[in-house]
Symmetry: C2
Subunit: 240 residues, 2 copies
Amino acid sequence: MQWENGGMAQEALQIGGLIFPGMDQMDFTGPFEVLSLIPDSRFHILWKDLTPVRDGRGLVLTPDTTLRDAPSLDVLLVPGGRGQEALMDDEVLLDFLRTRAPLARYVLSVCTGALLCGAAGLLRGVRATTHWNSFHVLPYFGAIPVDERVVVDGRHVSAAGVSSGIDGALRLVALLGGDSMVQAIQLHMQYAPEPPFPGGTPQTSPSKIVEAARAAARPLADQRLETAKRVAARLGITPA
Amino acid sequence: MQWENGGMAQEALQIGGLIFPGMDQMDFTGPFEVLSLIPDSRFHILWKDLTPVRDGRGLVLTPDTTLRDAPSLDVLLVPGGRGQEALMDDEVLLDFLRTRAPLARYVLSVCTGALLCGAAGLLRGVRATTHWNSFHVLPYFGAIPVDERVVVDGRHVSAAGVSSGIDGALRLVALLGGDSMVQAIQLHMQYAPEPPFPGGTPQTSPSKIVEAARAAARPLADQRLETAKRVAARLGITPA
């Protein structure tokens, strides 16, 4: 298969996936599983340097390409997780996102990776989603919040919380390679999920469970809101 | 929360997850996401030594505990992937599985991790599943093949291919901590999957896609069958 890039046919589809300290590993590893199964593709695991990073619960992931050395990317994956907060004013990362995203065919944000994209100014006027616990901060980045599991708006594909990155990546594959490529990947990874409970969202989970989760996550949610307000001021955005 | 272990209450639930070269990373990272959210638990990432391993498509994972130094484990996770083949006669690993599995409260095999459990003699008379492409080799380990996404038989929980490890881990959490713990974890990881297609199994995927996948996977499937026959002879098992 040959992939078009700005009119130039090239050998392999170039995919870059960001990792960072304190991320949620599944935001990355879910889409990695899907995207790395695209025929004739090359996956670059990106961070500022080549030092391994530790995810929020202790899994060590290792980059293989620095932001500086990343080739021209067709697909850019931006995961989230608790550690996203520490990067909301990080000019090295934000500059990478600002300069690379407009050249990519697709940007896939997962979970609070959408907030990183927002801080880089990529979500102005863009329909997007994020983890349910951060959904209310999207307007501060000029985004139009859409409460769906996967939202596609032009080159920006956003997935809701954590596990939704798998569905977001599969939707992205459909855009890139068509339905049969998605079906082949789903079959390979035997993706016919059977969640034990219909829950998994605030709307479908028992209210007691939702209240407890919201209470536990409130400090981080409050902090993210404060950060979003500061970023909105920097970007000159008045939330709708 | 306190967890019972052989009548002894202890502080934290001890979980061990195996990694190895050529594994399929999602077999591990899916269950890691779920199991590491169990309250008062400690997750050990296990391999023979502390050298990072590379999964079948290039993701580097890093162990933090050697097989020799692993504490007594309540839960033992055994992933699969292409690299499982190279370990089917590996006495260091098989001895670890043989000695540790009977002391664990639950063993969770994902994908062809079931074949590793089988090679260690853990599946004699056990109802189990594995990736659809290896399902036919289960009888060579004395297992009773059950074509379901997750199969629970006593202490052995087995999940089918790759992504089914998420569902297997959630079922295991239900056994350990009850329904509300599962619902809290599903909500945290927003696990309300929406696969783009109903496919994901040979039964539900278009026949053209299934035929192409079977053809591509045939060399590995043939090799696994030969290995299973050799292991069956070593274990003195005549497949039913």
